[in-house]
Symmetry: C2
Subunit: 166 residues, 2 copies
């Protein structure tokens, strides 16, 4: 098969501006939010895990599901859980319905930790981000990024599936 070189479609100035503004702001923003959480001995990723756990019925979620909703790999979750378990924030319980599985369970201490961290984190998200958006901005952003996410999911499905026709 002859591989034909396709001339790449470079970004025009408007596209470039949007992309760079986004990427720079995102880097800085995440950095700032992480720094703001430092006082609670939490990273954004750990916060996300605890927040998801605290939201679940009985504050317990299967490991796999937790990994998925907190957007971390199973391996990473396993490691972080070990750390957070040592800190006394979570506990693991064997799953009776499925003996391969286990439950991630939030302890009282973990609950207290997240309840204490949440107001500061929300304030930080406001200060650094949300309060600088108008209502319209918020709606626009949500629309745009939902589109991006669903597109990513579609592509992922495309890639995972053997593909009928592309």
């Amino acid at each position: 098969m002859a591989t034909k070189k396709i001339e790449p479609r470079w970004l025009n100035p408007r596209e470039m501006k949007a992309w760079r503004s986004y990427i720079v702001a995102s880097r800085r923003l995440l950095e700032a939010l992480d720094a703001d959480l430092l006082g609670h001995e939490l990273s954004m990723a750990d916060y996300e895990v605890l927040a998801q756990l605290s939201d679940a019925p009985d504050r317990r979620v299967r490991m796999s599901e937790l990994a998925e909703i907190a957007m971390v790999s199973k391996s990473r979750l396993s490691h972080r859980m070990k750390v957070m378990e040592k800190a006394g924030w979570v506990r693991r319980e064997e799953c009776l319905e499925d003996k391969r599985g286990s439950w991630a369970v939030m302890t009282d201490k973990g609950w207290k930790a997240i309840v204490k961290a949440a107001p500061d984190h929300v304030a930080s998200v406001r200060n650094r981000f949300v309060d600088h958006l108008t209502s319209k901005d918020q709606e626009d952003l949500a629309k745009i990024f939902d589109r991006v996410t669903s597109q990513l999911r579609d592509q992922f499905i495309d890639e995972a599936a053997p593909a009928k026709k592309r």
Copy 2:
């Protein structure tokens, strides 16, 4: 001083939606872009370093400046440079004007690597992000995120300075 507990201003549904949409999309997006670069043995962070270097006059930049424009810590840059140096993509040269300093210099091999990776990366940025935005979206995004960045910078200056009045 009596510390008074301030009732946190939680996010309303619109704000929450915007924030979550943004954070979820961003995580997934970065993940996808990183995965797309894997074929070139590059991470987004390394790509950024090489891209900045390739843009500089004579493809050479002082280490500190490179760290700043590529948005990585000096320590991290130092470590990555060692790896990329081993790969033959960059080289370090001593700085004659300031003997503490050193230049990061892109080699021909590095140039070839980035020239080869760039079209794929741009395609990936398009596929995953830019092509899903209208021109208006692009302008809105740029405006919003520029605002976020400048705000972050202002806050940072605030924090760094001893503060006259806050």
